[in-house]
Structure formats: C-alpha cells, structure tokens
C-alpha cells in the first residue's frame, strides 16, 4: 500500500522502499516459557530473589520501582515506596514491565537495508561494527556536503538523552519529539504565555489538596499517569467536588458531581462563560488578580458577551449548570484546579484553549496556591564535565521558518516536511523510540517522500515497529530493564533522583542507548564528548557531587532532597512571573504583537456531515499509545480496541455489540476492522476508540493487524498557528458494517 510508485515491471521506483520486516526472521522464536513445575509447585518468593532498582519506561511517567528476579527468572516489578511518582504502586503497564523484556518479537541484531538483484529491498543482519561504521561514514558525508546541522533527531522517551547528546556534539540543534506538536505542546506554550512557566511533566497539580477539580477532556484513570491517578484518588477520598467536561461518560465523569457532556469542540466557549460568571458575579479572586495579573479590564470586556445563555447554544450545557459549576469553583478557590490536561492537540486553537484554562485558574487564584498549581523543584544536578557543544548553524526553527513563532521545541511534522525533496533542509535522521507513522496522523505519504530524499535514516528501537521499515539501518536497543540511563531528575513537590540500572544482561545482540551513542561518537571523532567506558561512571560522578554515590543508589533507588523554595506563594508575597510584564498575562501583548488573539476567542467547530460522527479518541489503562500492545501481559488484558457507539446509533445502523465494523472518513480512508461496543457512555453524535491499535508491522506478531488505528482516519488536521500542534479532533467518520 505504501509502495504506490511501483513501475510496470513491479520494481519499486522509490529510491527507498518501505520494508515490512517480515521475511527476515522465521516464526521460530520461543514463546514465553510455560511455567515449569508440578503439583508440588513452590510458592512465589520461596526461591532466591534478587531485587534491583529501576525506573519504569512503560510510559513517560518514570516511576521508580524494584524489579524482582526469582531463581534467575523474571518475576515482578513493584513500586518504590520512597518515590513520589509511584508512591510504591506502579500502574497496570508498569506492573507488566517484564513483558517488554520477555517479548520474543524484540529487535535482535542490527539490520542494514540492501537491494537484491531483483530490485527488492530487504534488511540483512549486520554486526554492530558494520552497522555503526555504515552510519558514521554517511553522517560524515552529510556533514561535509551539507553541514552537521542537517541531521535531525526525532525522539521519544528518556533513553533519547544519549542521542540528544550525540546529535548536539555532532553540531545539530534539530531535535523534535511528538510529545510537543502531537501532545502537550499547546498546553505548555499556553501556560508559558500566561505565567512564564510551563506545566511540565509530571504536572504541577496539587490535586491531593484540591477541594474542586475541573477536568476538560482529560480522562485521568483511563490514562494512567501514575501520580495523577493517585492524587486524583486522594482528592476523591477527601470528597473533592469533581466537574468533568467530556463528550463521553469517562471514568472520572463517572466519579464526578457534575458531568458536562459537551458538544465536541466547544470547550473554549464554556471556559469563557465560566470567566463571564466569575467576573459578573464578583466571584473571582480580586486581591490575587490585582496583585499578580495584568489585562483584567480587557478580559472583562472580552468575556462580557459570553453569557451562559449564549454559550448554552454552542455547548449544549444548560446556563444554570454553567453558573452552578462556576460558583462551586469559586467556593473552593484557591484550592480549585482547572486541570491543564496533557494531550491537548485537538482543534488547532489549542494553545488558545490552554490560555483560557490558564486564565480561569488565575481568576480563581490557584497558581502557586495550595490545592491549585504548586511550584515545582528539581535537584541541582551537575553535568558530567564534557566540552561545550559546537554552535549549530541552524536549529529546529529552520524546519518551519516564518511559521509557529511560539514553538519552543522542535515540531516533528515540520522537520519531516523539511526533509522532502532534493533541496530539503534535512539530509539525515536518527529516529529514537517513536513509531512515527502511527504517532503522527496522516504522515505516511510524507514519511515515504522524506525517506526517498534523505541520505540516511537510522532507527533505534527495542521493537520492530512500523517505523523501522523506513530505515537504512535499524539498531536494536535493549529495554529499560537491561541498561543504565541518565538519573531521573523531574521537577516535583520534593526534588528527587532515581536510578535506572541493568536488572538483566541485554538479551540477544541488543545494546544500551548510551553504548550506541558513544560508539557512534567515537566513529565521528567526538570522543571527547564520551570520556567514559561505562555510563555508570557518569552517574556515580554526578551522585558524588551531591554526597551520594552509585553504590548508595543501588540500594535505595530513589533519593529525595530538601526543597529550597516554598511549595506555594506566601500570603501577600511579592512574585515576579517570568513573562515580559512580570505579571500573569490575562491579556497577552506577545500574542497581539505577532497578530494573534491576545485573549482567547471561540470559533464554532464544524459539525459532522449527515451520517458521520465526531471521531473521538483517547487512552485505555492497559496501554501506552501503540507502544505496549505487543507486550504479552498487556495483550492478554486488552488485545484490541473497541468502537464506542451510543445505543441510538447502534439501533439506527443495526449494529450489534461485539460485531466487527470498519470506519470510513470523508476522504475515502477505510480503517481496519474494529469491534462495536454499544454503550450509553457516549453522545450519539460521536464515536470513541482508544489510540494505539491496528499495527501494520508484521513482526509485532501479537498485535499486528488487530484493532483499528484512529490516526490514519485523521486526514483533516487543524494546525495550531502559534506552535505547530497537530489538531486531531476535527475528523468525522461513518460506520461500515462488515459483510456477513
């Protein structure tokens, strides 16, 4: 399907074909071993147990944990009690971490693309030396012909640090991760424009102390961002007033005092109406606004027209409900959190929606206050001494010159587009830990065009995900349970460090990311940036600067440090925000100067054509995107996604619970088959499915071809003009029954 440019002789006219990594390995890989034993099977934990600290890589939350081996066999992973990310309890995916290590479909040896006499392109296995030499030779050519800045790194995950270091040492500053333009970028830019600081990860939400929490399209509990789930549960135990805005009766909606089943795409109208009520009824935090904010009068004029009555017609939320919920927020303020969410690339006006959320928090006085958004703090961890990076001739902004003035991080889609054509800016890619064709909607044709143009594509991954088929060289990294990575040092309530260290020797011929980066560095003449034999030396050196050591961390896994700044603002404290005005910017001159709305405006979303439904998507607790669907423990739990439809839709279309259907969008894209789930928990104008299914890589033997992929149905993307975010929620689908 991807090789549409095949000539009449069947030989590809693409310079570089997409290779389905299917023919290379047989199906002889052993399935996870059946438990040996007999009737006198010993009880768990009676054997020789070894416990090793790590932090999880099943998602991006990075919970500290202990991996347990019994009699040399993988046993279990449990949370580290001293860790605030996990509080001793991992989530469903983290608990299943051994499944990532055990996966028989893992990449085993380096692969190099070769073209046979018949013109067919395949991979052949190579030694590490050969694969690394091959990459280094081509990177040197890119450097000589075009410049080192023409190498881009597309990455996701903590292990990417090693490759960010390599790429910077090489002389490139073009690093982009889908976490920005396909996920939380709009939120972080929106808050930075308002408060001068991002929300970051973990989110700086003080939910355990909140008395009122408002979730807008955020389905915490279906996404299992561990401390988010735990602190929301704490809030529920404290009898928090929970208000959930979602077209679907999500898990948190089912726990809420108020569920507002909003018409999809009208969230900004609701947010403006809430501001209207708070200002109109004098319920906002006057002292806080006077002390800390600028632009209140403009805001007041702006929201005057967004009355609950007017907004009701847009959102379908009753005026009385809008007023009552606004009063609930005010009554609990400042311990009221309007949750900033995480995956926020929805409708293309997402930075503005995040601004509206930020402004609403300001009216309630919750930033910097207990129960709102706290001041986060990380450890002042010295960097291991290496020379300064060379100055790159250009950075990620070269990919989108003149566009996206508020993109403060690389925009993946822009980098990919700037890699297409003979005169393209980028000439080489390293792709680390991100399966681009499923992560970025509708990207496959551009991806194919880009790899036809690029001089080199390297993919580093643990699994043979679809993106490996686009590579010239595939490098098999070992999993997080087999390697050192950088110490975890996230901003949190309590500054803390966590250790990831090898629990097992790397399986097959896989290698740790730090080793791969170092080996490439040496071949590129960058030895001075990699003056260690083993990454343990780096970690030990850093820890010793703080009076700890690797030896200590191997025992405790997590080390917490005292805070240097208070968690909240003191009453009446003078605070200078990191915005141009030094204040919370309700009205943004920065936006006005660039020709954008200085206060968020509401734009009415398109409605679905007759016979079509809003395509809503989200997470399920068993999986992290498409990254974990081949994990045997999680596959058993949730092998496929389902299509949620309201019973009215089911009856109109004659759909039966459990039957397979396909989805079609107005541009003719038809999905893989997906099971119908008839449920009252969704609006009749919408359907819902979890993201991460419908894998095309045949080498993912459990998950290949199972379930449907939402992202391929997203052909109508709404790009955020402020920062390049890929708005994914303006897509519509209709349902096709399978012929019986």
């Amino acid at each position: 399907m991807l090789n549409q440019n095949r000539g009449p002789d069947g030989v590809s006219m693409n310079r570089r074909d997409f290779i389905k990594i299917s023919g290379l390995f047989g199906l002889g890989a052993a399935a996870p071993a059946m438990l040996a034993g007999c009737a006198a099977r010993p009880l768990p934990g009676q054997g020789e147990v070894v416990r090793t600290p790590t932090f999880c890589d099943m998602c991006f939350w990075k919970c500290a944990a202990y991996a347990h081996i019994e009699n040399g066999q993988p046993w279990k992973i449990i949370g580290n009690d001293d860790d605030l990310h996990s509080k001793g309890r991992l989530c469903t995916r983290g608990t299943a971490g051994m499944g990532a290590y055990e996966d028989p479909d893992r990449l085993r040896r380096p692969l190099i693309r070769v073209t046979g006499a018949d013109g067919l392109q395949t991979f052949r296995e190579a030694s590490w030396d050969e694969a690394l030499d091959y990459i280094a030779e081509r990177l040197k050519k890119v450097e000589q012909r075009h410049g080192a800045d023409r190498l881009a790194l597309l990455n996701h995950g903590y292990g990417a640090h090693h490759f960010q270091h390599l790429v910077r040492a090489f002389g490139s500053a073009s690093i982009a991760e889908p976490a920005f333009a396909q996920c939380r970028g709009p939120r972080d830019v929106g808050f930075e424009l308002t408060y001068g600081e991002v929300i970051g990860s973990p989110e700086r939400t003080d939910m355990e102390h909140s008395r009122c929490i408002v979730l807008i399209g955020s389905h915490i509990g279906e996404n299992l961002h561990n401390a988010q789930v735990q602190t929301l549960a704490d809030a529920m135990r404290n009898d928090v007033t929970l208000i959930t805005v979602d077209p679907r009766f999500s898990v948190p909606a089912s726990k809420s005092k108020y569920w507002l089943p909003i018409k999809p795409g009208t969230d900004i109208a609701l947010l403006l109406a809430w501001m209207h009520v708070l200002i109109d009824e004098g319920l906002y935090d006057r002292d806080y606004i006077e002390r800390y904010a600028t632009g209140f009068e403009q805001l007041k004029r702006h929201v005057a027209r967004y009355s609950p009555e007017w907004v009701y017609l847009e959102t379908g939320i009753e005026p009385e409900t809008i007023r009552r919920t606004a009063r609930e927020m005010a009554a609990a303020a400042p311990a009221t959190l309007i949750h900033p969410g995480r995956h926020t690339t929805w409708y293309g006006d997402d930075t503005q929606r995040s601004r509206a959320i930020a402004i609403l928090n300001a009216l309630l006085g919750s930033w910097g206050r207990k129960g709102g958004l706290y001041n986060k703090e990380s450890v002042s961890l010295p960097h291991y001494p290496v020379p300064e990076y060379p100055e790159a001739r250009s950075d990620f902004r070269a990919a989108h010159a003149g566009r996206f003035p508020f993109a403060n991080s690389g925009v993946t889609t822009a980098v990919i587009e700037a890699s297409v054509g003979a005169d393209a800016h980028y000439k080489a890619w390293i792709v680390y830990g991100t399966n681009l064709p499923m992560t970025i909607p509708g990207i496959r044709p551009t991806l194919q065009a880009a790899i036809d143009s690029l001089d080199l594509v390297v993919v580093v991954d643990t699994m043979p995900s679809e993106v490996t088929g686009y590579a010239d060289v595939v490098l098999p990294e070992c999993t997080y349970l087999e390697r050192y990575d950088d110490l975890r040092n996230s901003g949190e309530r309590v500054p803390s460090l966590a250790l990831r260290m090898p629990v097992f020797e790397p399986r097959y011929d896989s290698k740790p990311g730090w080793w791969i980066a170092k080996q490439l560095g040496h071949r590129l003449g960058l030895e001075k940036y990699f003056p260690w034999d083993d990454y343990a030396e780096v970690i030990d050196w850093q820890l010793k600067q703080l009076g700890s050591s690797l030896e200590e961390m191997k025992r405790i896994g997590v080390k917490n440090f005292p805070r240097k700044r208070p968690l909240y603002f003191a009453p009446g404290q003078d605070v200078r925000f990191f915005t141009p005005s030094g204040k919370i910017e309700l009205y943004s001159q920065q936006l006005a100067d660039k020709g954008f709305d200085p206060i968020p405006e509401y734009t009415r979303p398109e409605s679905p054509p007759a016979g079509y439904y809003h395509l809503n998507y989200g997470r399920m607790p068993a999986h992290t995107f498409g990254k974990t669907t081949n994990n045997h423990l999680l596959f058993q739990l949730a092998p496929e996604n389902t299509l949620w439809v309201n019973p009215l839709v089911a009856s109109e279309r004659g759909l039966v619970n459990g039957e397979y259907v396909r989805l079609a969008n107005p541009d003719g894209v038809v999905s893989n088959q997906i099971r119908v789930r008839v449920t009252e928990r969704i609006r009749p104008d919408s359907v819902f499915m979890a993201h991460g299914f419908g894998h095309r890589s045949r080498k993912l033997r459990l998950t290949h071809d199972v379930g449907a992929d939402d992202s391929e149905l997203m052909t109508r993307l709404k790009i955020d003009p402020l920062m390049g975010g890929t708005g994914m929620r303006g897509n519509f689908v209709t349902i096709i029954k399978e012929a019986v």
Binding site: T92, A96, V229, F249, Q636, E680
Partner: protein
C-alpha cells in the same frame, strides 16, 4: 475460623486492571488465565448514568460450596481461616467446584491439570503482607485484613461505609465486600 476480608471501594476503583496484572506476575499465572478480573456495570440512559467498577475474584466464602462439593478434599479452608485453597496433589480436575461456585471464580484449569484460583496471596498474608492486587492498586481502593479484629482497616470501613457483597442469597457468606 479466622476471617480475612477484602474490602473494595467502588467509588475509587477506576477499572484499570492493575490488580489483574499484579496477581498474574506475583503468582506466575499461566498465559491466557487470570485469577481476578474487573467488571464495569453501567446503569441508566445517556446522559443520566452511573458506572460502577469492581475488581472481582474468589470470595473466600466462610460457607464455601466449592469446599463442600469437592469429592477429593482438594478444595479446603487454609489453616483454620476462610481462605479457600486447592491442593493440586488431590485435585483430579473434575470441575465439581466450578459448578458449585456462585461467583464463577474457578474458571481456571491450570495446564498441569488442576483447578486454580485466587489464594488471597496466602503466601504473603503469612508474612503480614497484603495480597499483591491490594498492594499494587494505584487508587488504594482495595483493603485487606482480619474481620475478627474490630480495629482492622476492613472492620472500620465496614462499620462506617455503606457496602454490599455479591450474591448474598446463596448463603455462602462471602468475604469480599464492596463499598458503594
């Protein structure tokens, strides 16, 4: 009989099934089989809805029909408690207990030919630890302890919170409680 109970707060349960994976890894449950599971029960019509999530498993009944019906004595109450175990050495795999269980908690035919089920992690309980599912639960909606001790967390929760058991009409006297 010392009575151990599990008390699960449906107001906090999010149906994430971490309990299922924690059990599976802790107890090395064979591929494709589970000793516990999660139920989602939704009532009402859009938009007036209620959804309850429940983590379910063997109820470790004080009056366990599976124990009574077992022809070989394989199903038994462990060590003077209500914890129901199956002795693989005595189990012939006849499945009488499967028909006798009102909770469908004995779905498992272990590949080695005996009926497997939740053990309340008695190997952990012996050491004073909670069952693996309880320890893993990210919302801390699951509690475990002795009903005989009036000061135990489970006793206190049952004294102060509205609760139910599943299928009380069977007279099996189950020991998994749901806070509602």
């Amino acid at each position: 009989m010392a009575r151990y109970a599990m008390v699960i707060d449906t107001k906090l349960c999010i149906g994430c099934a971490d309990c299922v994976v924690a059990c599976k890894t802790e107890n090395k449950v064979p591929e494709g089989l589970n000793r516990d599971w999660v139920v989602e029960a939704t009532q009402g019509t859009y938009p007036k809805l209620e959804t309850e999530f429940r983590s379910e498993r063997c109820n470790h009944c004080s009056n366990a029909t599976c124990v009574t019906m077992c022809p070989t004595g394989a199903s038994h109450h462990w060590n003077g408690t209500n914890i129901v175990l199956v002795d693989p050495n005595k189990c012939t795999g006849c499945k009488a207990c499967i028909s006798a269980c009102p909770y469908d908690a004995r779905l498992i035919m272990h590949p080695e030919g005996y009926i497997d089920k939740c053990t309340f992690c008695h190997h952990r309980v012996e050491k004073g630890m909670d069952p693996a599912c309880v320890s893993a639960c990210p919302t801390k909606c699951m509690h475990f302890g002795l009903l005989d001790d009036p000061n135990s967390e489970v006793s206190q929760l049952l004294r102060t919170r509205k609760h139910k058991v599943l299928a009380p009409e069977t007279g099996n006297d189950p020991n998994v409680y749901y806070l509602i």
